[in-house]
């Protein structure tokens, strides 16, 4: 399978990059590690004529700050650097775990945090070669006009498959988007839309340049990933959870975010409600896990059956919370 022809532009500064992507218009795409984009281009899921490379932009590289005041992660920082970063491992363990669970070690060295946050939604009717998609009938996400997973659905149900996106939401991170007219900072949750096609709120001429982690302030966090194999596989369920306990041992803050069950990372608000202001007992955790389980509606478009994946929401939320509560 061959990569179609395209022009690769290598900007020397962020300003030049924003100009280039704005000039390229609908023919242009951004690329950083390329670990997802290039294989997708071979299958003609994308056919950009121009790629603007972000990998070497100094503004997008590196991790700075500290857990007391908050940290800034350049969007082109490779995932493996994040998974190995001592302060991130110690204070934002969910992020280190998620970054270290993306695909394979090789891909973590090429793939970047910005790329993973913006990774295309996935569906096993869509992540296929052009000839395959033609054989089964094209879907609305590319070349067609129906959803093959849910034929009645007016919108695409491809699955948010980022490991780090639910974590960023659970950590209360914000992301910096830089366009020709300056930058804006939005909560990580606001980067995503519940639509498998238009899954990002990023404007076409904007570049995701950095992620800002808030001061850790006693926040405990973890990430549990369901997949068939311990390496290589995208999540078919991701549970990012964070908790802050008050002085009386009750839950002061709780965020539970489910990845890979819908087109966007999904807050399990009902489960969070269950926990707030209460002590974390095994019974309470089971109650919260049930509350997260009920609204989760995975569809039949990834590995393993949807009934099984739904069932695992409860198991994984429970396990994540137990870990944070130091319960066996």
């Amino acid at each position: 399978m061959r990569l179609p022809a395209f022009r690769y532009l290598a900007p020397r500064s962020l300003a030049e990059a924003t100009r280039m992507i704005a000039d390229a218009g609908p023919d242009g795409m951004l690329v950083s590690g390329g670990t997802d984009l290039y294989p997708n281009m071979k299958r003609l899921q994308f056919d950009p004529r121009i790629l603007v490379g972000l990998r070497h932009l100094p503004e997008l590289l590196g991790v700075s700050g500290d857990p007391q005041r908050g940290m800034r992660i350049g969007a082109a920082t490779p995932l493996h650097q994040i998974s190995l970063h001592p302060a991130i491992r110690a204070h934002y363990p969910a992020l280190a775990t998620a970054a270290g669970s993306v695909a394979t070690p090789q891909i973590q060295r090429m793939g970047t945090i910005g790329g993973n946050l913006c990774v295309d939604t996935r569906c096993n009717y869509y992540n296929q070669s052009y000839e395959w998609r033609r054989a089964i009938g094209f879907c609305m996400k590319r070349d067609g006009d129906v959803c093959l997973v849910a034929p009645g659905s007016p919108r695409c149900v491809a699955v948010s498959s980022s490991d780090t996106a639910p974590v960023m939401m659970a950590l209360g991170a914000t992301v910096v988007l830089t366009g020709p007219d300056g930058e804006r900072t939005v909560p990580a949750a606001a980067l995503y839309r519940d639509d498998g096609m238009a899954y990002l709120t990023r404007r076409p001429e904007e570049i995701l340049t950095a992620i800002l982690l808030p001061p850790v302030d006693g926040l405990r966090s973890t990430y549990w990933k369901l997949r068939r194999r311990g390496s290589f596989d995208f999540p078919i369920l991701g549970v990012a959870a964070s908790l802050r306990l008050g002085g009386d041992g009750t839950c002061a803050d709780a965020r539970i975010v489910l990845g890979a069950v819908s087109p966007h990372p999904m807050r399990a608000a009902a489960a969070e409600e269950v926990l707030l202001g209460r002590r974390l007992t095994p019974e309470l955790i089971e109650e919260a896990a049930m509350a997260a389980y009920r609204p989760a509606k995975p569809l039949d478009n990834t590995d393993l059956t949807l009934a099984y994946r739904k069932r695992m929401v409860r198991v994984f939320v429970s396990r994540a919370l137990r870990e944070l509560a130091n319960l066996p």
Binding site: M1, R2, P4, A5, N124, N127, Q128, S129, E131, W132, R134, A135, I136, L148, L226, R228, R229, G230, S231, F232, D233, F234, D303, L304, T305, A307, Y308, R311, M312, V315
Partner: protein
């Protein structure tokens, strides 16, 4: 040819492979590494429909695309082919009908791959879509929609019914009779190397094909037939395969297509299949539904067994007739069985054709049988080890289905894995969630018959010695990574008393090497080994005669080792190998010899008796210890112990390599691999989504070699390439039961099935056995026991 007294200088040593350095430095040339001047690139247009009639093909726009040199359709290649003479049902490019998504329809040769691909998209094919039959049930139900116009009826490709002894009498003598239904899902080989081929038709009218094939001789025959060229004008060279596992054993469309395109364009033409296309080329494990009914006495002795298999064959015959017979052949070769009945059917469906994958047709029934036996043992209150150990088939005996047994190391294999794994302390004694399972198995060391009927040898070897002492061994065998080139070198070096690195091995070239039938059926070490011994001993006799004259020692007192020929009784008295060569060439003329091997004839005369006989069976036993997460159904395999009756390990390192590779492959089948289809299309034709274990999922393994020195094998050797896969899969299923108390009578035992079975158990629901397809089998052929 085994010799217990023998002292070997090469055999039995853990030497590196002769091609190891080339492999690790990246020097090995695989088919896709080849390039010739003026070479064109080919692409194949494939069917987007699982079943359709081709109404028209318009190649005009493709031909007009700049850079396109030729566009080919099936009209130019109307002669059908297929690996088995009884199933010549494939076309290089479909002419009237397509039978699965991926069936080749047209091909393009162009200046580069991009242009060829673009041209394929310009070919307009008009189809009339036909009903797609995606399962055995559907294919049997729709007799009105025939995928092929041959076979006994409807979509039945082949049916078998054989009975050996009176099973009803056996059941009536039994203390306990049990029936079970199993399903074993299809899986594919997943070799790292995608199939590739390069053809060059020269101005001399001769054709050469370089291909990643396990069977250059059979490809040679298919090319001669389809291209209508004399076989003498065709040369087929098999490159080292980057993994075969049975998936490169058929003659393939793409091989014929590049030959024809080269003939049309006068330029070399190459193709390399994409990973997705490899899933369509397939020929992998048949999905098989099975039914067992077995009668046993109180101590577990089998009084009778009745077995039925239903094979989902996919769209073409391939090896399917053999696969079907194989599902029923080897129930008898492990444990004593006085009466046996086998009924089976292979059905065409609109999916990529199934064929031989490591273990060819036998892992499915072996898995089912070993789980079935476990259930019987439990019902009788016997230890799974005891029930097997007590009733082993006898060495040098003949089974009820007339298979001749050689040495039998199964008992020792069982003893060793049980002892090493601590079975007796663990079985039924581990905490909930942890379990241990056991199984035994057997496999052939080479098929007793060739693919096409002939009376010629199955393997030929030619050895040439030049006066500088250089030894070249020529053999048609194909190294698919298993080390067959190395085995040729080890055997020749052993016999001639030199080192493997002194030998040049020339293999798998139909112009240069004597025929070897190919790397399938675990036949190569045994057959080429015996042929090499025969050739080398002729030369050794000449060298000894010349050396004896010089040393004034009787030739029968001489020995060859360490590059010398010397007096056995006085090792100081000797001459160097090169000196002996010079003396021998002076005495006898140019030094060269040939050797060949033909397996012994099978005993059975009934129809179907050709599938099963072998010079000797290998035996294996496995213990698997694993942990089941009862909430998620995920399984962690903690350790696998595998003991194998190798006869004699020619190189123990290569034997262990085959064991570990087989265990890994077996675990993939047991736990996750599925050739799954949806809406007529392969659901997951990629290495990312077709779940196969990675290194991370591979457990600790302990390989135990048992040597029983079978007289049929070279130095006593048996096979190891396939048989060791067999016991691992049922050992996993038996271990799951030991761990969490649920039976998964289905492969793969995926997490969702385990969770469901545990849920059913909690709710007191029956985890129902699968349903059997509805088939009326023909009246069985009654085969009288030999000597009766």
């Amino acid at each position: 040819m085994a010799d217990e007294e023998a002292e070997y200088s090469i055999i039995g040593r853990p030497l590196i492979k002769v091609d190891a350095m080339a492999k690790v430095t990246g020097e090995t040339k695989f088919a896709d590494d080849l390039a010739l001047p003026r070479m064109l690139h080919a692409k194949i247009l494939r069917s987007p429909h699982p079943h359709a009639r081709i109404l028209s093909i318009d190649t005009g726009p493709a031909e007009a695309l700049p850079g396109v040199h030729a566009v080919l359709t099936g009209r130019a290649l109307p002669i059908k082919f297929g690996i088995l003479p009884v199933s010549q049902d494939e076309e290089a490019l479909a002419t009237e009908r397509v039978r699965y998504v991926g069936d080749p329809v047209a091909a393009v040769a162009a200046v580069d791959e991009e242009t060829a691909e673009a041209a394929c998209r310009l070919i307009r094919v008009e189809y009339e879509v036909l009903p797609a039959l995606m399962s055995v049930g559907e294919a049997l139900a729709r007799e009105d929609v025939r995928i092929h116009d041959y076979g006994p009826r409807g979509n039945i490709h082949k049916e078998v019914a054989l009975t050996f002894g009176d099973v009803e009498e056996g059941f009536s003598q039994a203390d306990y009779v049990r029936e079970d239904v199993f399903f074993y899902e299809g899986s594919t080989h997943l070799p790292m190397e995608q199939h590739a081929a390069l053809a060059s038709h020269g101005p001399d009218g001769k054709l050469c094909l370089w291909s990643s094939t396990q069977t250059p001789h059979y490809v040679h025959r298919a090319l001669a037939k389809v291209l209508e060229l004399p076989a003498s004008h065709i040369r087929v060279i098999a490159l080292p395969n980057g993994g075969g596992f049975g998936g490169k054993s058929d003659p393939f469309s793409h091989e014929i297509v590049v030959c024809k395109l080269s003939m049309l364009t006068g330029r070399p033409v190459k193709i390399c299949l994409t990973r997705e296309e490899v899933f369509y080329a397939h020929r992998g494990r048949h999905p098989v539904t099975m039914w067992f009914k077995t009668g046993v006495t109180r101590d577990g002795a089998i009084t009778a067994m009745h077995f039925r298999s239903y094979l989902d064959g996919g769209a073409y015959g391939s090896y399917g007739v053999a696969s079907l017979y194989y599902t029923g052949a080897f129930q008898t070769v492990t444990y004593e069985m006085p009466r046996y009945k086998f009924e089976g059917v292979r059905v065409f469906t609109n999916k990529p054709p199934c064929g031989p994958k490591r273990g060819h047709g036998t892992p499915q029934p072996r898995c089912a049988l070993e789980v079935h036996l476990d259930k019987i043992a439990e019902a009788l209150g016997l230890d799974p080890y005891e029930i097997r150990r007590r009733h082993l088939v006898q060495p040098n005996s003949v089974t009820i289905n007339q298979l001749r047994i050689g040495t039998v190391g199964l008992g020792e294999c069982l003893d060793r894995v049980v002892e090493r794994s601590g079975w007796k302390e663990k079985h039924q004694k581990l905490p909930f969630g942890r379990g241990i399972g056991l199984a035994g198995s057997a496999y052939i060391s080479g098929a007793g018959l060739p693919i096409y009927w002939n009376a010629m040898p199955h393997s030929g070897v030619q050895i040439k010695i030049d006066r500088g002492g250089g030894v070249a061994v020529f053999c048609g065998s194909t190294d698919i990574g298993q080390g067959s080139d190395s085995v040729l070198a080890y055997v020749a070096a052993e016999e001639l008393g030199i080192e493997p690195e002194d030998i040049r091995v020339v293999t798998a070239d139909t112009d240069l090497t004597p025929v070897d039938l190919g790397s399938y059926s675990s036949r190569v070490t045994l057959m080429t080994g015996n042929a090499t011994i025969q050739a080398a001993r002729k030369l050794k006799a000449q060298l000894f005669e010349a050396a004896a004259e010089k040393l004034r020692v009787p030739a029968d007192r001489l020995r060859a080792a360490h590059r010398r020929i010397f007096d056995r009784d006085n090792p100081e008295a000797g001459i160097g190998f090169v000196e002996a060569v010079v003396l021998a060439e002076a005495k006898f003329g140019t030094l060269g010899a040939v050797g060949s091997y033909t397996p012994p004839k099978g005993l059975g005369k009934y129809k179907g008796a050709g599938v099963g006989p072998t010079p000797t069976y290998s035996y294996s036993a496995a213990v698997v210890e694993l942990t089941v997460d009862p909430e998620t159904g995920f399984i962690t395999v903690d350790k696998v112990w595998l003991a194998h009756d190798i006869g004699k390990a020619i190189n123990p390192l290569l034997v262990i390599g085959q064991i570990e590779g087989s265990v890994y492959m077996a675990l993939g089948e047991a736990l996750m691999e599925e050739q799954a289809f949806r809406k007529g299309v392969h659901k997951i034709p990629s290495m990312l989504e077709y779940k196969s274990p990675t290194f991370l999922e591979t457990p600790q393994m302990e390989s135990i070699l048992v040597e029983t020195l079978d007289p049929a094998g070279p130095y006593g050797a048996k096979e190891v390439g396939q048989g060791v896969l067999l016991p691992v899969v049922p050992a996993v299923l038996n271990a799951i039961y030991d761990a969490v108390g649920v039976r998964i009578d289905e492969v793969p035992a995926s997490p969702e099935k385990i969770v469901k079975a545990l849920e059913d158990q909690r709710r007191g629901r029956a985890s129902g056995n699968g349903r059997l397809p509805s088939v009326t089998f023909p009246e069985p052929t009654v085969v009288q026991p030999t000597g009766a």
